[in-house]
């Protein structure tokens, strides 16, 4: 009998081992895809452009030459990723209320070609079996980005004349937004995509530092603005409140926070990553001042203010720390972190989190840098070279930049998903408090593209909670637009060298950085680190980036 039990237990153990090995590869790939470090490259000077454009768009919109629905009921095949936000309820994009409304309003018959994931999309692209149009993030997924895809004969490069004629609304938008246009322009002067673009002036900052403001209050402190105040706050958490790990920043989030300049600015480096000052590229991690950033982090580490296991901490642990009150400060996305924490703990009386601005050198300074998404994050829509009638495809894609299309893609169907209140669309109960228990995103996924992206001009995204709205506004209120690297394209002849240098140097940087923070390497060796970076080709890397920026600025 006993033997039997043992053998059953062993059998079950073996099964689970078999299973876990199966699951392992899955979770491995997921962590890889969701690894946070937000890319820090985008165009500058939006703020200044923004003011002029709002005025301009008004009259260009009316000059549009296409009336929807179009004549002749054309058919268009559209490749898209099937999104799990709706795929458990619908079989195809054309079954969605959005797909139906879109076909009705544009007069096009859509044949949706769905693929499951990026890999499948990449294979479809590689095989050359493409539909007329597809929406995707080629800028991240295609080697050499969109410009290369045009050269490789996969997508169509569109001349200004072609767009003026077939997509007047889109063209008007590009004319009015020089930065967006420049990011989409190949060196041959062709536009590569119907881009996912934002209303001029919309905030593009979706990451933030966040701290337990209730604890700050308890300690009689104001929310920290400088590195010293931040340090004092963590110290207070630890010593007076007995918080185990005041600052919970797993390595990915730490790197993100450094790249976003959340923690580097007090020390005179805008970001760990590359940025530009007056057309000159700077790598934050190669600056002598970066030593002070590392010294500060090392101090936090030594004094136990930071998790000693920050290199191996995973997201679930981070969540548990932040929710249980074992940690009081972290950095990350406004939605999936700040929002999740606040909604999860909404029933807990003494729990509150507040976003804070990127840390600065002197109290009251305006942050020079912060998180800022690229202007052109995608997914964009592309016309493929397989398309028989590009003009018809362009007329279809133009819809997202008309007033009517913008409303549909952003807010769905009037009277169903939104009502106009005081001139502004307000989401209905169907969306915000769904009778079938669907989440806001799930409902929006049926009626709009606003939750995802696509060929249209998006309104500024709206967060639900006041803390989130504040974080969104606060982090958008920096001079990042002046300093952020625009979306440059590395020259063809440099791209191999660039990839090699960047990967070697980044690996070395990441490893050494951790050693400095953990005190395994003394900061006296910082000069050696800089020398090694240079020996590995750091200055060449800088040169390549600089060339790319020069080309971009001369476009």
């Amino acid at each position: 009998m006993n033997k039997r039990i043992v053998s059953i237990a062993l059998a079950a153990a073996m099964t689970s081992a078999l299973f876990l090995s199966g699951c392992g590869s899955d979770s491995g790939s997921t962590t890889a895809t969701t690894a946070p470090p937000p890319q820090t490259t985008a165009a500058g000077k939006t703020e200044s452009a923004a003011a002029e454009t709002t005025a301009q768009t008004e009259d260009t919109q009316t000059a549009a030459g296409i009336s929807y629905p179009v004549e002749g009921s054309p058919t268009i095949s559209w490749g898209l990723l099937r999104k799990s936000q709706w795929s458990d309820r619908y079989d195809s994009f054309t079954d969605l209320p959005l797909g139906k409304a879109l076909q009705e309003r544009t007069g096009y018959t859509i044949e949706a070609v769905h693929v499951d994931n990026n890999q499948a999309m990449n294979l479809m692209i590689a095989s050359g079996d493409l539909p007329d149009i597809f929406t995707y993030q080629l800028m991240n997924q295609y080697n050499g980005k969109e410009a290369q895809a045009v050269k490789d004969g996969i997508i169509m490069g569109m001349t200004p004349e072609f767009l003026q004629e077939n997509a007047p609304d889109y063209w008007a938008y590009l004319e009015a937004n020089e930065d967006v246009k420049r990011a989409l322009l190949t060196n041959d002067g062709e536009i590569v995509a119907f881009a996912f673009v934002r209303e001029p002036g919309a905030s593009r900052s979706v990451q933030t530092l966040m701290v337990r403001d209730d604890w700050c209050e308890e300690l009689g402190m104001e929310l920290p603005e400088t590195a010293d105040e931040f340090y004092a706050m963590l110290k207070g958490f630890k010593e007076q409140l007995g918080v185990e790990i005041p600052l919970a920043l797993p390595i990915g989030h730490l790197q993100g926070a450094l790249n976003n300049g959340f923690l580097t600015q007090p020390f005179g480096v805008l970001s760990r990553d590359k940025y530009q000052v007056d057309g000159k590229v700077i790598f934050g991690y190669m600056q002598p001042e970066y030593k002070d950033v590392l010294a500060w982090l090392n101090k936090l580490y030594e004094e136990g203010l930071m998790d000693p296991n920050f290199t191996t901490m995973d997201n679930d642990t981070l969540t548990a720390y932040m929710l249980s009150g074992d940690s009081g400060a972290t950095a990350g996305p406004i939605g999936s972190m700040l929002g999740t924490y606040l909604t999860t703990n909404k029933d807990i009386e003494d729990y509150s989190l507040a976003p804070i601005k990127p840390l600065v050198a002197n109290k009251g300074d305006r942050p020079k840098f912060g998180h800022m998404q690229n202007l052109n994050v995608g997914p964009n829509a592309y016309i493929t070279m397989n398309c028989k009638d590009p003009a018809a495809a362009a007329r279809f894609l133009n819809y997202g930049y008309t007033d009517e299309g913008k409303k549909l893609y952003n807010s769905g169907i009037e009277g169903v998903t939104y009502n106009i209140v005081d001139g502004q669309p307000v989401l209905t109960d169907l969306v915000t408090n769904n009778p079938d228990g669907l989440t806001t995103t799930q409902v929006l996924a049926e009626y709009t593209l606003s939750w995802d992206g696509g060929p249209f001009e998006a309104k500024e995204s709206k967060y639900e909670l006041p803390e989130q709205q504040e974080a969104f506004k606060m982090n958008g209120d920096t001079d990042a637009a002046l300093y952020k690297m625009p979306e440059t394209v590395i020259a063809d002849e440099d791209s191999d060298e660039y990839a090699r240098l960047a990967s070697e140097i980044n690996t070395y940087r990441d490893e050494t950085e951790i050693k400095f923070i953990r005190g395994e390497m003394s900061l006296d060796q910082f000069d050696e680190y800089l020398a090694t970076l240079d020996r590995m080709g750091g200055s060449r890397l800088l040169e390549i980036e600089q060339n790319a920026l020069d080309v971009y600025n001369s476009k």
Binding site: G22, P36, A458
Partner: protein, 292 residues
């Protein structure tokens, strides 16, 4: 039966050690089951060992999973793939193994080498994809069944099992007038039942766990196997892309519950079958391996 003291001590420690190993393997499973009925908000806050459901126990996760119609079509498709796939797998592997096990087969060595070659080198993803496309198998369940119908390593195991059967048995059958098929079906297969069971298990678990081919070859989500459905739901809970940063009340918690419940639901069938095949398992591999 008299046993020495040393033997008893060894057995005691051995048993303890094995129980410990078993516990280490079982805990993740136990954790998932407990987590699937825990209150998600409390669970997210929870650190340390999970022994009992935390917070108010709930079956919401299972309710949500069973309301998801993809889960049902996923089960149906997986069983379809499993049934048809196993039929092809077993038949072809047995036939292939038999041919390669024949001593007097012309060009046996080179043939075997050619077969083994495929174990180490493959055409790569894009050529496979183009091949499937040109065969007209895109968006068809056959794309998940035919390309992997024979797994080389299993074929070798099968061949070794056949070779381990004494030649005199097949010779005797041949003298009595049996042809190849009779030798295979009447003499050899009944003798290698254990190996067959292992084949069923290997191929079966392979089909059960596979999602990748489905994710690249299938276009309609009505054809998705369970694991792909599962994967999509799990990934959704981890998505952090740009605008999706529009947050929604309840989601992370609900996703957490769904995640654990789905893992349980999708694992149950295999866990149920496995102990029954287990007894063939060790024996089967051994037979293949010793004389490999």
């Amino acid at each position: 039966m008299e046993k020495s003291k040393g033997y008893k001590i060894f057995t005691l420690f051995n048993t303890l050690l094995m129980l410990f190993v078993a516990a280490v393997c079982l805990y993740p499973f136990y954790y998932i089951i407990v987590a699937s009925v825990s209150d998600p908000s409390t669970l997210m806050r929870h650190r340390s060992w999970l022994v009992w459901p935390v917070g108010e126990p709930t079956l919401d996760g299972y309710r949500m999973v069973l309301n998801n119609r993809r889960v049902f079509s996923g089960f149906a498709n997986t069983f379809r793939i499993l049934g048809l796939g196993l039929l092809f797998n077993i038949t072809l592997t047995a036939l292939g193994g038999y041919v390669l096990s024949l001593n007097n087969l012309l060009l046996r060595k080179p043939l075997t080498l050619i077969v083994i070659f495929t174990m180490y080198f493959s055409g790569g993803l894009i050529p496979s994809y183009l091949n499937i496309r040109d065969l007209g198998l895109m968006n068809s369940l056959w794309a998940l069944i035919l390309p992997g119908a024979v797994s080389t390593s299993n074929l070798i195991i099968m061949r070794s099992a056949f070779m381990a059967v004494p030649e005199s048995l097949t010779d005797a059958a041949k003298i009595d007038g049996a042809g190849h098929f009779q030798v295979l079906f009447r003499i050899l297969l009944p003798l290698v039942k254990a190996t067959m069971a292992v084949m069923v298990l290997y191929y079966g678990v392979g089909h059960w766990n596979s999602w990748f081919s489905a994710s690249i070859y299938l276009r309609d989500n009505t054809k998705y196997p369970l694991q792909l459905v599962l994967r999509n739901i799990l990934l959704r809970s981890q998505q952090q892309d740009m605008l999706s940063d529009v947050p929604m009340a309840q989601t992370p918690q609900a996703m957490l519950l769904i995640k654990y419940s789905l893992i349980v639901v999708s694992s149950v069938p295999v866990i149920c079958i496995y102990p029954f095949l287990q007894r063939f398992f060790q024996k089967g591999i051994m037979i293949g391996a010793v004389k490999g």
